[in-house]
């Protein structure tokens, strides 16, 4: 379960506060996954006491409102990332970047299919740059995709492009990259301009240990 409590001394009306919060869910707390399981108790409360000396935020187009919203987004994203970093048994923090999707929904579909794939996540745990598993995840995601337009990078390493293993691919270099604690998997679908990043972690034996031990 994920629980989040955010407090501010800003003076701001409830509708404005709710609007800001809702606008950033999709790129923060709804853009993480540890084990693809949704809890029955996830909750987030954002409370604004209005006790700051600063004037109330009344115009969402004002500089102060934009600064506040950006700061709120930063706090939300930082907390979301910390949840992934505490993923049960996690040893790798992974950003999955999808770009070139036909639309925003497709970008999200493809990104979450990769981030939720047990095969991708166990490959990461094994420090294996297994781009074939990424192809598989994209293919099953339901997002519009074309094998011959797809390219896949692990960090700066181009592993696959135009339906083939990249001629520049170096298994040694890719394997060395996989030893990092923090990884970026970037997929260009080549279908359009939509993009989405999601964050996940690897799936290790520890996950099974922890959950097998947690009795309800």
């Amino acid at each position: 379960t994920m629980l989040v409590y955010i407090f501010t001394d800003a003076a701001i009306t409830q509708p404005h506060l709710q609007k800001m919060l809702s606008r950033h869910l999709g790129t923060t707390f709804n853009a993480i996954t540890v084990d693809s399981d949704t809890s029955t108790s996830d909750a987030l409360i954002l409370a604004a006491t209005g006790k700051a000396r600063a004037k109330p935020i009344t115009d969402l187009r004002s500089k102060v409102a934009k600064d506040f919203e950006a700061a709120l987004h930063d706090v939300m994203l930082d907390l979301a990332h910390q949840v992934v970093r505490d993923g049960e048994g996690a040893t790798k923090f992974v950003e999955v970047r999808v770009k070139g999707a036909a639309d925003a929904a497709d970008a999200r579909r493809a990104a979450l299919a990769i981030a939720n794939s047990p095969l991708v996540k166990t490959a990461i745990a094994g420090e294996d740059a297994n781009w074939g598993r990424v192809v598989m995840a994209v293919g099953k995601s339901g997002a519009k995709a074309d094998r011959d337009r797809l390219s896949i990078r692990f960090g700066e390493h181009l592993l696959a492009a135009k339906g083939w293993r990249s001629p520049d691919y170096s298994e040694e270099a890719a394997s060395a990259y996989m030893k990092n604690d923090e990884l970026v998997i970037e997929v260009d679908l080549g279908m359009g301009r939509a993009a989405q990043s999601v964050w996940t972690c690897d799936l290790t034996h520890r996950y099974i240990d922890i959950n097998a031990d947690y009795r309800s």
Binding site: L3, Y5, I12, I45, A52, L79, Q82, G87, I210
Partner: protein
């Protein structure tokens, strides 16, 4: 309370020591950040033994009158009673000029417990409202932990006076510890901006490590 729980109360595990997992290797290297005090917010934590003995497992937050509250909750079709209660209270927008409170326990999720789920939510929310003198419509509760066991809410209610006495603007780190379940480190974050006529501060805490694929709205 005993009548509502019936024989189920006897099945609640008591006095079990919790096994702690080693801190995640991906935890922030600097540990829990120094979070600023937010004017109008007080925190308290206590060990109520809701599921496990020997650890803080209840968090109480008191919010000043006039606090505006927004929220987002899981869209799970089988969401717990406390989630449904929070949703209803936010939608009703009753008592927005009054004080408010948040009560969390990290021992029992109070999920999949039938009608007793709402009974426990009502019992805890009513007791918090009475203890802090805020409307029950402004008491937001969350529960996390074991699923499918009736929540021994009397253990939480019994700690409310102690929690009230411990309320402190500087208690946010203890609060972050109190909401942990299988978490290996408390999570906090902060930001500050220049408002018109003064600084505006934001401070947040979270818990979560497994069963994480939020689908909130």
């Amino acid at each position: 309370v005993a009548e509502a729980m019936g024989d189920a109360a006897d099945r609640v595990v008591t006095g079990v020591k919790k096994k702690f997992n080693p801190v995640s290797p991906l935890a922030p290297k600097d540990g829990f950040p120094a979070l600023p005090r937010i004017a109008g917010v007080d925190f308290a934590a206590a060990a109520a033994g809701v599921r496990y003995a020997g650890r803080t497992d209840v968090m109480l937050v008191r919010l000043a009158p006039g606090t505006t509250i927004a929220g987002a909750f899981t869209r799970s079709a089988t969401r717990a009673a406390s989630v449904l209660d929070c949703e209803a209270k936010l939608k009703a927008k009753a008592g927005e000029r009054d004080g408010a409170a948040i009560l969390v326990n990290s021992g029992n999720a109070n999920a999949f417990t039938g009608a007793m789920g709402q009974t426990s939510v009502d019992a805890v929310a009513s007791a918090v409202a009475e203890t802090l003198g805020v409307p029950v419509t402004r008491v937001f509760t969350s529960s996390t932990g074991v699923i499918g066991e009736p929540m021994p809410h009397d253990r939480i209610v019994a700690k409310l006076d102690e929690l009230k006495g411990a309320l402190d603007a500087g208690g946010i780190e203890q609060a972050a510890h109190a909401i942990m379940t299988t978490d290996t480190f408390p999570k906090g974050s902060t930001a500050e901006i220049a408002g018109e006529g003064g600084r505006i501060r934001i401070a947040g805490i979270a818990k979560g490590s497994g069963m994480i694929a939020p689908d909130m709205a």
